[in-house]
């Protein structure tokens, strides 16, 4: 059966789009890798859904949970979405639709530093997922570090789960211009203020211009981190290092969009590496739309607005003008917010010759530098010569860092290329072979 619309991703953007389109009578399927709809933001424990309206209308769409989409293809009259159902014992499934909406979201961007591979070092999103989705506190004593406003809710969630949070370390110094953003999104400013208050109430210090530049541990994992003050380029200021005992580090430096499915279809991307969409969330390929973080990091409110717009547009309806205005305001706010938390190049001075850049293939920094000296001057060549980015995660954790190390060696900017991943997520050969002719 061909659906009118297939949505990949049941987070704020994808599910909002799905239920909006379903309200206009479209037959909609939503595939998501998670076992419960909601995505990262509305992640929740089994049987305890949050009061988010689209979840209450989940029954109006065909929700395919635990469906890992590994490939999307164009067909004569739309799209074929190839997935494996069930994380452990499922089989291959192909869902077809006349329209396809990619709402694949984003994941925490990571920057390598000595010890970032120790157990106990978690991404900020991972720490939050443990708490929100499982009710499990990742440890007893935590440091939250990185950059961006997302660190605040993570610290609050950790504290509320009973973890002693020593500090939130924001590498940037974002305060001076923050006020200028207020007109665009009062709700977000109120939210930020609420988090600031929440941190203060829990006696969690919020320190800017500081970062965890190394993690230390033993056989069991993390035991402490080195914290340093940073200059404007994020180089540690000499003599400012202190050691902080902790068993958990939640770290994130903004977000990286999940673009493999968009890349498989070959739709246009923006110069800064997101899926390019028009005012109706349509890409440059007929029938293909995208919404949410994969079209630009903008947070939950913007993702929902984009999803709703996409739902209207795909159903052939004219969206309310208020919705368009709201998106414009939220987009401006998001751009301003991103500008407050740029990743500065000095982070690469945190890593040493033996610091792993690629965790999967265990490729340290000096092997990448050696390959660069052999003549590899792009990320793909580095991969071919060192295996950095060839492992299980397919460069999701290291491609940007590899590009930065390369930039250091060659002394000119090197961009991480848009991902080319014809196998979007690993698939067992037996699942792949089913249906072979």
């Amino acid at each position: 059966m061909t659906h009118d619309l297939v949505v990949v991703g049941a987070g704020p953007a994808g599910l909002t789009a799905a239920v909006t389109a379903a309200r206009f009578g479209l037959r909609v399927a939503v595939l998501d890798a998670g076992s419960r709809a909601g995505g990262q933001y509305h992640r929740h424990r089994a049987g305890r859904p949050p009061a988010w309206p689209p979840l209450a209308r989940l029954h109006t769409v065909e929700h395919l949970a635990e469906h890992r989409v590994w490939a999307v293809e164009r067909t004569a009259d739309g799209f074929a979405v190839h997935a494996v159902a069930g994380e452990r014992d499922g089989g291959p499934v192909t869902v077809t639709g006349r329209n396809l909406l990619l709402a694949t979201g984003a994941y925490d961007r990571q920057l390598p530093f000595p010890g970032w591979d120790l157990p106990g070092v978690l991404t900020a999103g991972g720490a939050q997922a443990l708490i929100k989705g499982n009710g499990v506190a990742p440890g007893r004593r935590a440091v939250v570090a990185g950059t961006g406003p997302f660190l605040l809710p993570v610290a609050v969630a950790l504290a509320d789960a009973g973890v002693k949070v020593s500090a939130v370390l924001e590498a940037s110094r974002p305060t001076p211009r923050a006020a200028a953003l207020a007109p665009h999104s009062p709700a977000r400013v109120v939210e930020a203020g609420r988090y600031a208050l929440a941190l203060a109430r829990r006696r969690i210090p919020y320190r800017t211009g500081r970062a965890v530049i190394a993690a230390h541990g033993d056989d069991t994992g993390l035991t402490s981190v080195t914290v340093a003050r940073l200059d404007a380029d994020w180089r540690p200021r000499p003599g400012t290092s202190t050691e902080v005992a902790c068993d958990t580090l939640a770290v994130g430096f903004g977000f990286t969009p999940q673009l493999e499915l968009a890349g498989q279809l070959g739709c246009a991307t923006t110069p800064d590496g997101f899926v390019a969409v028009d005012a109706r969330q349509a890409t440059d390929l007929p029938g293909l739309s995208a919404a949410g973080e994969s079209t630009g990091i903008g947070g939950v409110h913007l993702a929902e607005v984009e999803g709703e717009l996409a739902g209207y547009a795909i159903a052939g309806r004219t969206p309310p003008r208020a919705l368009l205005r709201r998106r414009a305001a939220l987009t401006r706010f998001a751009a301003g917010l991103r500008a407050l938390y740029p990743v500065r190049p000095g982070w690469s001075s945190w890593s040493h010759a033996d610091t792993l850049i690629c965790r999967c293939e265990e490729v340290p920094r000096d092997r990448i530098e050696e390959a660069a000296r052999l003549g590899a001057d792009d990320v793909r060549s580095i991969k071919l010569l060192t295996r950095a980015g060839m492992g299980w995660c397919q460069g999701r954790m290291c491609a940007e860092a590899t590009a930065c190390v390369l930039s250091d060696v060659l002394d000119r900017p090197i961009a991480a290329p848009a991902p080319t991943r014809p196998i979007g997520v690993p698939i067992r050969l037996g699942d792949l072979a089913q249906g072979a002719s």
């Binding site: 003549g375 792009d378 060549s381 071919l384 060839m390 014809p422 196998i423 690993p426 698939i427 072979a433």
Partner: protein, 381 residues
């Protein structure tokens, strides 16, 4: 970027074939500049498995080239930087008695040429490959078949004695009144040289056209699946007896028979489909499915193994499936070293060796007329 300087030889293409030509020309005492519009091993080389095969070649000029190459790769592996040279051996398996008979007959013709080929009884297959599917009719073991990591190999060949400029496109030739090569024009300026080696892989036809010569090199698409890293499960390069027919085949449609092999990094590579579809960059799911099914047919345990990635290469092929190696009499000073299809890594050192001998006026070690660039023109005129 350092300045382009006049050289005895300019090699266009920093893939494994260009790298080998540059390496042997430099060893012969010539000054060599290598130009590539992309990075080292950015084309077919970087999308290959690094096969050094004699097992899939019938007696003839390509087998002679492959045997010479095997000797040269072994020498290079001893002297130079590491590029994961592994003399792992090939194992061809037959599913039916008829296939086994044909396979044995092929081996009998290969042996007088210097190929070592051991017949393997069905009962003995498991001692070569413990995880092979049961019920196969027999096999042939080719201990000379070997493998290198192609990108590392190309980088190693370019690591000494050669001036390398990546990110430089050749935009034209400067020819004398007599039509002889005087230099090349590039995106970064002009470069004087008396000899140009066209090792541009699938783009060799376009490079030849810049010098006013036609060369019928076309792309043939292939895919390779790469599994998760595992403890060593597959020891040889293992393929079904029908593979050699696909390699030589002229069918424009998909030809595929899985070649399964382990790598030093623990991943298992599953190749090799072949399609003549131009530079179509898509990854058609049916082709990937078929490769997976064929691999499982050879090694049933693979059904439970995850594939992490797939990569695609465009192999440069000529109408008679033989490489094009030698001087182009239409444009004195222009040499071709291209059209190796899926065997470029295997044939690279011998190709470089032949070209270097020619450039320094020495006779080739064996008859290279089957590779002559003019052979296509003669057919059509």
């Amino acid at each position: 970027m350092s300045e382009l300087r006049p050289s005895d030889v300019v090699v266009i293409g920093a893939g494994v074939v260009g790298a080998a030509c540059a390496h042997y020309a430099a060893r012969a005492g010539l000054s060599v500049t290598v130009l590539d519009r992309g990075p080292v091993a950015g084309g077919t080389t970087g999308a290959g498995e690094g096969n050094l095969l004699v097992s899939d070649k019938e007696p003839g000029p390509e087998l002679a080239l492959a045997l010479l190459s095997l000797r040269l790769w072994a020498e290079l592996a001893e002297d130079g930087p590491d590029f994961e040279y592994q003399r792992k051996g090939g194992l061809i398996v037959a599913r039916t008695g008829a296939e086994a008979g044909a396979m044995a007959a092929t081996a009998a013709t290969q042996r007088p040429c210097g190929v070592t080929a051991h017949a393997v009884d069905a009962a003995d297959l498991a001692s070569y490959e413990p995880h092979l599917a049961p019920g196969l009719a027999g096999g042939t073991h080719y201990p000379q078949d070997a493998q290198v990591q192609p990108a590392l190999a190309a980088a190693a060949l370019l690591s000494s004695g050669v001036r390398l400029h990546t990110g430089v496109s050749v935009t034209g030739f400067r020819l004398g009144r007599d039509g002889r090569v005087l230099g090349v024009r590039t995106s970064h300026g002009e470069l004087a040289t008396g000899a140009v080696v066209n090792a541009a892989g699938t783009w060799s036809g376009a490079v030849a056209a810049l010098a006013g010569a036609s060369l019928p090199i076309l792309p043939r698409r292939g895919f390779v699946l790469v599994t998760e890293p595992l403890p060593a499960m597959v020891r040889h390069k293992v393929y079904a007896a029908s593979y050699a027919g696909d390699v030589a085949g002229d069918d424009a449609d998909l030809a595929s028979s899985a070649v399964v092999e382990g790598t030093p990094s623990g991943t298992i590579l599953i190749g090799a489909s072949r399609e003549r579809v131009g530079f179509d960059r898509s990854f058609p799911v049916p082709v990937l499915r078929r490769l997976a099914a064929q691999a499982i047919e050879l090694f049933p345990f693979l059904a439970g193994v995850s594939v992490l990635r797939a990569y695609r290469g465009f192999r440069p092929y000529s109408p008679d499936h033989l490489p094009v190696i030698g001087p182009d009499p239409r444009v004195p000073g222009l040499w071709h070293a291209c059209g190796h299809e899926g065997a470029g890594v295997g044939l690279a050192p011998a190709t470089g060796h032949l070209v270097a001998r020619g450039l320094t006026g020495k006779d080739p070690e064996f008859d290279s007329t089957p590779f002559a660039p003019t052979r296509f023109a003669e057919v059509s005129s």
